[in-house]
Structure formats: C-alpha cells, structure tokens
Amino acid sequence: MNALSKKTAIILARLGRSVVPLGVLILFVAHLYVTLPRLQESLGWLREQGALSYEEKMRIKWARYGSYFDLMDFVQKRTPLGAIILFEDGPKLGSIDFYFLFPRRILYGGAEVLRDHPEVEYVVIEGDYPGFPVSGEKFMMDDRHGLLRIRREP
C-alpha cells in the first residue's frame, strides 16, 4: 500500500467516523429547528400579553366553544356560592360546568325539573331556553345568554 492509498484509507476511515456524528448533529439541529419555534410561540404570549387578566386568558383558550366561558363567568359572578341553578337539559361540557360554578349546585332540565325542585333559584338563559314561563328578574349577558333570578310567589 503506497502513501496515497494509505492516505485514502485514512480519509475513508475519518469520513466514516465523521459522517455519523455529523449526521447526528444535523438531525439534532433539525430537531431544534422544528421544535424550538413552538416553544418560542408559547413564550411569545408571555412577552406580548403578560398583563392579560384571568378572564382574558380563559376567553382566548376557550374561544372555540364560543361564549361558553363568558356565560360561566357571568353566572358565577351573578350568583352566590350556595346557589342552585337550572341549565338547559344535558351538561354542555361535562364536569367543566361544575368546575366553574362549584360550590353552586347545578340541575339540568326543563319545566318539570323546575316544578319538582322548588329550591332552584336561578335559570340560565341560552337562546330559546327556557321556553316555559319563569317569573323573575332577568340579567342578560348578550342578546342570547343571560340569567333569570326566580321570584317565587309566597
């Protein structure tokens, strides 16, 4: 083996040893290139919107559920802690309703539930609900959502 071919062999050996770490490095950089912008994006909120209130943050995160958070927030602020509230039939987002309104009690249903539970103090207005007569004081959040404080006859 003369000097040149030995040199080739050494170059090949070095190349072999170098290709793998170089590949690893390139892949690692590619990984960071893909992943770090996501982290940067998350941190961007802190930098640009650091002064957001709890309500504003929740409104951003729950935007895809429309006015759901606003309604919960509205009900929570307009009702006392121990209030019993009637919602349209069926929990909208499962236990999330309870999370926002706890320790208030929540019932779901229509006129029959209201009749069977005289302890209900509030009825939440959502669109056409309640479609049955409820006498009480009305507080509207917007033109579709609001709250009825029931006024029962003595």
Binding site: S5, V20, L27, H31, T35, W45, K57, S95, Y99, F102
Partner: protein, 979 residues
C-alpha cells in the same frame, strides 16, 4: 408563591429522607430528581389513608401526616444506621464543565424555566385538567374529604389531585406547578441514568433532545397527569434496566416503588407493571434469585397499587377501562381480530406523529436509524428495546381496545399521542445509549478529527452560496422545470402509495392518457425525494432538500477525489468549487431536471473508486464503486452515457500507468498482478450496471416504444439556435435548449466536464502547496465565483402557489413538455382530454373507458370499488352483442394486457388481444357477449423482468461483498489510525 415553593421543597425533603432507606449511593442530582416523585407520592398516600381513617383533609392533617412520615423515615435510617441524608454517590456532572456542556445545561435549564413560566401564565384550561385533576384538587380542598363525585372519572387515582388540593389549601396560587416539577424531575433522572452509560456531553445532548420534544413540553404545561405518569413509569423502567445490568436489588426496589406510584397516578399503571414484570422474567436467569426478585417486585407494587384499587372497587364503580380492554382481549384470542382498526391506528400515527415537522420532532424518524447503528450492542440493550417494543404493543392494544361506543377517530384524536408520552422518553434514552455505543461519544475529540482542513471548510461555506437561491420561497429552476419536477414527484408519490414499489407507468401524465415516464427515466432522484415526502415534507421542500444536499455533496465529493488524486487540498478546493459553480455558469441546474444535480454527486465517486481499484488493487473499493455507479445509472442514464468516455479515458490511463509500474516490478523479478485490478474494476462496473438493470434494460430496449419524433422537434431547435450578434455567446447565456427525452442540456455538460478535467489537470500539474493559501488558488477561485455571479443572481421563479393536485397537473400539462409525452403508437399530440375535464371539475375519475362509444343497450359497464388503480383497471360489463369493442383512454405501450374474468370474482378466464386504435393509439379490446369482468393491467415485459432479477442478484452480491469485507475487519481494523 412562597407557599408553592415551600410545598415543593417539603415533598423533595421527604423523598430525600425516604430514598436514604432504599438507596443511599446516588448522586445528589439523581437523588433530587427522584425525591419529589417519591416524597409527594408517599405523602398523598398517607393523606389518603388518614382520610379513610376519618381525618378531614386540612393543612393540619397534612402537617401531621408529613411529620409522621418524616419521623418514620428518619427512625428507620437511625435504626438501620444508614443515616443517608448526605448523598454518597459520585457527582453526575463531574465538574469542571466544558463550554459545550455549560451551553447544554443552560439550554435545558432555559427550557425547564420556560415550562414553569408557561404553566404559570395560563390558568388551568385543558379539559382533563379542569374536569379531572385540578377540579378534584379543588373539590378535596373545599370539602376536606375524598368525595370527588362531581368531577369526571372519579375512578382515577388521587395522587395528583391530592397534591393540588394542598396547593389550594395553601392559597390556590399556581396549583398546576406540580406538573412542571415532574417534568423537571423526569429530565434530571433521565440525564443521571443516561450518564451511567455515555459521556456527559452526549447525556446532556440527549436530555436536551428529550426536553425539546414539543408534545412532552406541551403536556408539561397544561395540568394533565400524563407527564407525571411518564415520570413514574420511565423511572421504573430505567431502574429495571439498570437492575438487569447490575443486579443491584436497590434498583429493582426503586423500579417497583415508582411503577407502584404510577398506578397511584393513573389508572392504567398496572398495564405498565405487567410490561416491566414480563421483561424481568425474560431477562433474569431461571433460579431462586429470580423468584425472589419477582416476589419483591410484585410485593412492593402490590402494596402501592392495592390501596387505591381496593377503595375504588369498594365504591362499586369498577374499572370500566379494564373491562373494555378485557373484552377486546377476549375477542382477539377468539379470532375476532379487526385488522382495519389496527391499520387505522397506524395510519393515524404515520400522518400525525411520524413526520419530523409534527409534535415529536425527529424522534420517530431517527429511531430506526439509531436501531441500525446500535445493532452491535443489541444484546446489551435488549431489555430496553423489549421494554420499548412491549410498550408500543401495549399502546397499540390500548387504542385497539378502546370503547367502541365512541368512534376510533375520536380516540385517536384525543389519546393516540398522549399515551405515547408515558414511554416515549425510553426511546430517547435508547437513542442516547446507542449513540454512545457507536464510539463517537466524545464530540470534542471526534469533531476535530474530521480534519479535512481549512480548504474543505472554506469550500463548504462557499458552496452554501451556490445553494442560496434554492433556500428561499422561490424555486431554482425556470417555471416549467419547477412544475414538471414537482408534479412528476406528485405522480411518483401517487403510484408508490398505490403499492407499486418500482413505478414505470405514470397514469395521469398527458392529460390522463398515461406515459411510461419512469420506465425510460432513471427514478433515483424521485426515490430520494419521495423518501423525504413520506417523512412529512411537502413536495416542494422535499425536492429542494434533495437539490441542496446534492449540490453540496457533489462539491465535497469532487474535493475529496481531487485532493486524493493530487495530494493537494488547494487543488481539491478549486475542483470542488468549479464542479458546483461551473454548471451554474452554463445554467445546467436551472435548465435540467432534479436528476442532473443528484447524478453529479456520483461522478467523482465513481472515478475515485475506479482509480482506487486499478491503481491500488483495493478490493474494498469494489462495493462503493459499484454502488456509486449503480446510483449514477439509476439517477440519470444519459448523463452516465456522456460521462462514459471520461471514465473510459481515466480507466485506460490508470491501467497503462499500472502496467508501467508492474513492468518495472517484473523487470526487477517480482510477480506481476496487472490483470487483477482490471478484473476488479470490471466487476465493480458490471455490478453497477447490474444494480441499475431494473431501469437500464427496459429503458434501452423499450425506448423505441415512445414517440421519438417528440425529441427530434427539440433537437431541431438545438441544431439551429436563434441567430444573434455572437451565436456562441448567445448559446452560452441563453436559457438553453432542452432535450425533453433526456431532460438535460447535454452539450453544456460536456463543455463543463472538459473544463473540470482541464482545471484538475492544470491544478495537478501546478502541484499546489497545501500548507498555505496560494495566490493562484485565490485568483482562480475568485474567477470562478465572478463568472458564475450573473447566473447565481438571476431572478428566480416564483414558487408553487398551492400544493400539487390532479387539477393542477392537468392545467400545467399544456405548457410543460415533460408532462405530456406520447408513445410510439400516438401520431397526434393531444392538447386536452375528457379525463382532464373530469379532473379540472374537481371530480374523481372512476374509469378510463370511453363511454361514448356504445349505448347501454349494446354495452353496459359498471365500475367496481377501487377498480381504477395506477397500473390498470377492473370493470364489470354486460355485452348484448358479440365482439363489442371497449376502448380505454390510455395510450398503448408494451406491458399492457387485457383479461376476461369471471363476473363475480377476478378469476381470469382468458387474455384478450389489445389493439392500439386511432391517432391517439388508445387501447382497445373486443369483448364477447355476456356478463363478465374486464381487467386491464400494466405488467412486466421480458426486459423489465430480467432487469429486476439482475438488479436483485447484484444487490445480493454487493451486500455479500460488504458483509464479507466487514467480517474480515477490512473496513475497521486494517486502517492505521490518523496521526
């Protein structure tokens, strides 16, 4: 904030004390990493038991339980005289640190800090956090009891909610802080364990890799239990792995404790325990010690697992998740397997998780590569690999067994990736230890050992300028080339996805009539681009990536070859520079298809290998030379043809030189071996041709079956270029005249090649000094850059407006000659087609049969599900007359066959003769009266079949040569270490 920090500190302190009982011989860092998980888990279990005993869950109860647990821990330590408040293990960081290590630690710390900041910034908002974990904490804190019936999934264990409950009791500020703390613990324990196997830099690098996986990062910030559970499970798996290597009982107990605490964190902990137990059984020798180990493992787990399980069962709720899994398991063993369900899961994974641009980064793409790298240590790493494999199977089964009341799609959307978080860190761990085993762990040492000198680095840097035009949003080629290449890749992708691994017929080209594009053009560059596309890159990015890599690699390849040839780095530098920039001057890249730059990578490699074989009889150069030559032929056979004379001249020159050397040797009485290198070179080149035979044979023998006239049209253009002031200058700088049949400006390549050869010769003769920068090198380099500058800075074309679609393909086929080739049976180039109308209307073509030929009374044709594929069509028909013609809107080409089949299934009754009809040479068959199925298929002709066999044989021979050489240790041991 102080309350949160105080709570976290107290948990760490409790864990620190308790760890002293189990294992004192840990580094302080590892002990801190484990302490929080252990301390908080034991504390919440204590609170849980206290509540069962009737104590209300309050700060006072918490403090009492805490003090009792700490006192018990300290007492045990005192009694056993193992007062382990001081960590005795060696430091995991091994001070002092290098700058690289400091940078890595800084990066990891920054990411962990970011996770805490992001978690703290947002209030709890994720559905699971609100409905389950945080809400339960809120309920427990408010009621002082374990009644969590308002929350969702009340059967889930309470480790996390109880921790959050105490943070509520302490003021309710930042209750989700426990989740990022688990993330921190996971990162620390991961590093400390990996450090046991690899050096510090690699361990830190792998830890940084883990901590930047977006999915894990994201779940560390939203208050869900997946990252805490991942901490528990990964810790248990890592200590089990260490136990199987070191047989230290303490590791086994730690593993059992953490998998037990995992079952106190999420309901499916027992599944993960079963996986660990199976690995323990598989990898311990069958003796008494093994039974003891299994008994200890099971006992420790059972104690921790039973607390919640008994309580939950007494509540009468039952584990519905377990019931669903059991039901699916019963279905499986009774033979009711649903393969389509598994296929749907894997397809979802392929689309949502596999691409490196998605939420897992490059984790899943790199895993198989590293698996190959780590093959030599596979036995050593087997327990970890089996853990990963069983977890993957468990993951698949869990998804398969999900409640069928909900659609599988819903489960995949909400659970598929989340469940991978629990064990995916083990994959990152395996990447770390495998890379460590490859023996390049010391990056500080190895990277300088690349040592290709300043010229190689300078060349690399300058080459980047050559690829700059490609890196922007615009495309590098002219408009027609860009679209052609992207749409050809789009078509290639369609065929591959249809299950045809070696595409030949492109069914959608030429307005849907089809064209055997991949039968006559080398598919190498398309395979590379398709590989990237399947990994998640879009078509344009995949093409650009291959183009960039090709240009850089071809420059570096030429550098290596010429440096080897001349012994001068300066000469290599100039040759590499010229090799990439001269084609710029001649506009080769811009006018050529993707195949040209890719093929240019292999030219210097083929020359290098050939010379090595002929001059030095290096047998180990045979396989690389064959592979390079095969790759060149598969990528661009016409360029290989142009290159052949140069290769031939080089071959003859080196043989003559070798003969002269041998002659001198013979004269001095030594034995001659002149013909051995010639034979070896022949073997290498024949093998190269053999590798590419799958393409070469049909391309050569069936080329006449495409319309040659379409190429002659363009040749005429070339022969008579537009006159100008100076025809030669005009020709050099004009956009060029293509030969669409070849996709290359062949004469320009020839001129460029002559210039390369001349430069190499001159540089070789000059014998440039490698030790310092010579003025000649600077001058020539500058000259190359100067004359290529106008070409480099030419305005690039606008990129694609939208991803390729069938509609787009039809629309641009009118202007892109490469997309509307015709076969030899077509006498008139079509301008449009009825199929194109369907595509442009945004509809799916279900059949290529010309329905306008007959009324339904004569012939009724019904399409079948999946009847139209990229390599043919199946239809059902009823003919009310005999010998009725059926015409397909498909160009005829050798390989098309039509069959008459049974009406109810695809059993072939007989072959039907095909006739090309009309000026479009469309396929027509005549069918008999009656009800049948008609099958049209594009099949292999004799050259295709023989080519495929030859290629397969050549692959086997090349692999055998490589294995044989590897066994002899030629690749590793006979090379002197570089000085």
């Amino acid at each position: 904030m102080i309350a949160v920090v105080g709570f976290l500190f107290c948990m760490v302190l409790l864990g620190w004390i308790l760890l002293g009982i189990v294992q004192r011989d840990l580094s302080w860092l590892e002990r801190i990493g484990l302490s929080y998980g252990l301390g908080s888990g034991v504390f919440t279990l204590g609170i849980f038991l206290a509540s069962l005993l009737g104590f209300s869950i309050t700060i006072k109860t918490g403090a009492t339980v805490y003090l009792i647990l700490a006192a018990i821990g300290l007492s045990v330590l005192l009694v056993s005289r193992r007062f382990g408040l001081v960590a005795n293990g060696k430091s995991a960081l091994d001070l002092p640190l290098s700058w690289l290590d400091i940078a890595l630690i800084g990066s990891i710390s920054a990411i962990v800090t970011a996770v805490f900041l992001i978690t703290g910034f947002w209030p709890p908002y994720a559905w699971d956090a609100l409905a389950i974990w945080v809400f339960k904490g809120k309920l427990i804190a408010a009621q002082g009891s374990l009644d969590v019936s308002y929350a969702a999934h009340s059967i889930y264990p309470l480790n996390l909610p109880l921790q959050m409950a105490f943070l509520y009791l302490l003021g309710g500020f930042f209750v989700e802080a426990v989740v990022p703390f688990y993330f921190l613990s996971l990162v620390v324990v991961f590093y400390c364990n990996l450090r046991q196997f690899v050096n510090r830099t690699l361990a830190l690098g792998a830890t940084l890799f883990l901590s930047t996986i977006p999915y894990i990062l994201s779940y560390a910030t939203i208050g869900m239990a997946d990252v805490p559970f991942a901490f528990h499970y990964v810790v248990s798996a890592l200590y089990l792995f260490r136990y199987l290597r070191e047989s230290r009982m303490a590791w086994l107990i730690l593993s059992a404790i953490f998998v037990g605490l995992g079952s106190w964190t999420r309901l499916d902990g027992s599944v993960y325990f079963a996986i660990n137990l199976l690995v323990l059984v598989l990898f311990r020798r069958f003796n008494r010690q093994k039974f003891f180990a299994i008994a200890v493992y099971g006992l420790v787990f059972a104690i921790l697992w039973s607390v919640w399980t008994i309580y939950e069962n007494q509540g009468g709720q039952g584990n519905y998740l377990f019931a669903s899994a059991l039901s699916s398991f019963k279905e499986l063993v009774s033979g009711h397997f649903e393969p389509e369900r598994v296929a749907e899961i894997l397809e979802y994974f392929r689309v949502a998780s596999l691409p490196p641009t998605q939420q897992w980064g490059i984790l899943w793409v790199v895993f198989p590569i590293v698996l190959l790298l780590g093959l030599r240590r596979i036995r050593e790493h087997a327990p970890l690999l089996v853990l990963i494999a069983l977890n993957a199977l468990g993951w698949l089964f869990t998804l398969y067994a999900t409640d069928k009341a909900m659609s599988l799609g819903w489960w995949l959307d909400t659970n598929l990736e989340r469940r991978m978080i629990h064990w995916a860190p083990l994959v990152a761990f395996y990447l770390g230890i495998s890379l460590g085993a490859v023996d390049f762990s010391s990056l500080r040492i190895r990277f300088p050992s690349i040592h290709v000198g300043p010229y190689a680095k300078a060349l690399f840097a300058i080459l980047l300028f050559a690829v700059l035009p490609v890196l922007g949003p615009s495309f590098f080629w002219d408009a027609s080339r860009e679209r052609e290449s992207v749409y050809l890749l789009f078509e290639f992708d369609q065929i591959i996805r249809d299950g045809i691994l070696y595409p030949r017929w492109a069914p959608d080209l030429t307005f849907g009539y089809g064209y055997p594009f991949f039968n006559i053009y080398g598919p190498g560059a398309f395979y590379l681009s398709e590989g990237l596309h399947l990994m998640g890159f879009d078509f344009a990015i995949a093409l650009k990536s291959i183009l960039v890599a090709s240009m850089v690699l071809s420059g570096l390849g030429m550098f290596g070859f010429v440096r080897y040839l001349s012994g001068s780095s300066q000469t290599g530098f100039l040759a590499g520079l010229a090799y990439v920039y001269v084609p710029h001057i001649f506009d080769v890249y811009r006018n050529a298809t993707l195949a040209v730059p890719v093929a240019l990578v292999f030219l210097p490699l083929v020359l290098w290998g050939t010379r090595e074989i002929v001059v030095h009889s290096h047998i180990k150069a045979v396989a690389p030379t064959a592979l390079s030559f095969g790759a060149l032929l598969l990528t661009h056979s016409v360029l290989a043809l142009v290159f052949a004379p140069f290769l031939g001249i080089g071959l003859v020159y080196w043989i003559v030189r070798r003969m002269a050397v041998e002659k001198r040797a013979e004269d001095s009485g030594r034995k001659s071996g002149t013909w051995r290198p010639v034979r070896l070179a022949l073997v290498a080149h024949v093998l190269g041709v053999g590798l590419a035979a799958i393409h070469l044979l049909p391309a050569a023998l069936e080329f006449s079956s495409v319309n040659i006239a379409q190429f002659r049209e363009n040749l005429r253009d070339y022969a008579f270029p537009t006159p100008d002031l100076n025809p030669i200058i005009h020709w050099l700088w004009s956009p060029g005249y293509d030969l669409p049949g070849f996709g290359i400006t062949v004469p320009r390549i020839v001129i460029a090649s002559v210039i390369w050869a001349g430069m190499i010769f001159v540089a070789h003769r000059l014998r440039m000094d490698t030790r310092r920068l010579s003025p000649t090198a600077v001058l020539v380099g500058f000259l190359i850059l100067f004359i290529s500058y106008p070409a480099l800075t030419r305005e690039t074309e606008t990129g694609l407006d939208q991803p390729p679609t069938m509609t787009g393909l039809m629309q641009i086929s009118s202007s892109a000659s490469g997309l509307r080739g015709i076969t030899a049976w077509v006498s008139k180039q079509p301008d449009w087609s009825s199929l194109a109308d369907v595509y442009v209307a945004g509809k799916r073509v279900k059949s290529k049969i010309d329905y306008t030929e007959h009324t339904q009374d004569v012939l009724w044709v019904g399409v079948l599900p999946d009847g139209l594929r990229t390599n043919g069509e199946r239809v059902a028909f009823t003919a009310n007359e005999d010998n009725v013609s059926v015409t397909f809107n498909v160009f005829y080409y050798p390989g098309w066959h039509a069959y008459l089949a049974d009406p109810s299934r695809d059993e072939i009754l007989r072959e039907l003769p095909i006739t090309p009809v009309g000026e479009l040479g469309r396929i027509q068959v005549r069918v008999p009266r009656g009800q049948y199925r008609l099958i049209l298929r594009f099949e292999d002709t004799a050259p295709r079949a023989v080519g495929a066999v030859l290629s397969a044989l050549s692959v086997v021979i090349v692999v055998a040569i490589i294995v044989w050489q590897a066994r002899k240790g030629l690749l590793h041991n006979t090379i002197s270490p570089p000085r």
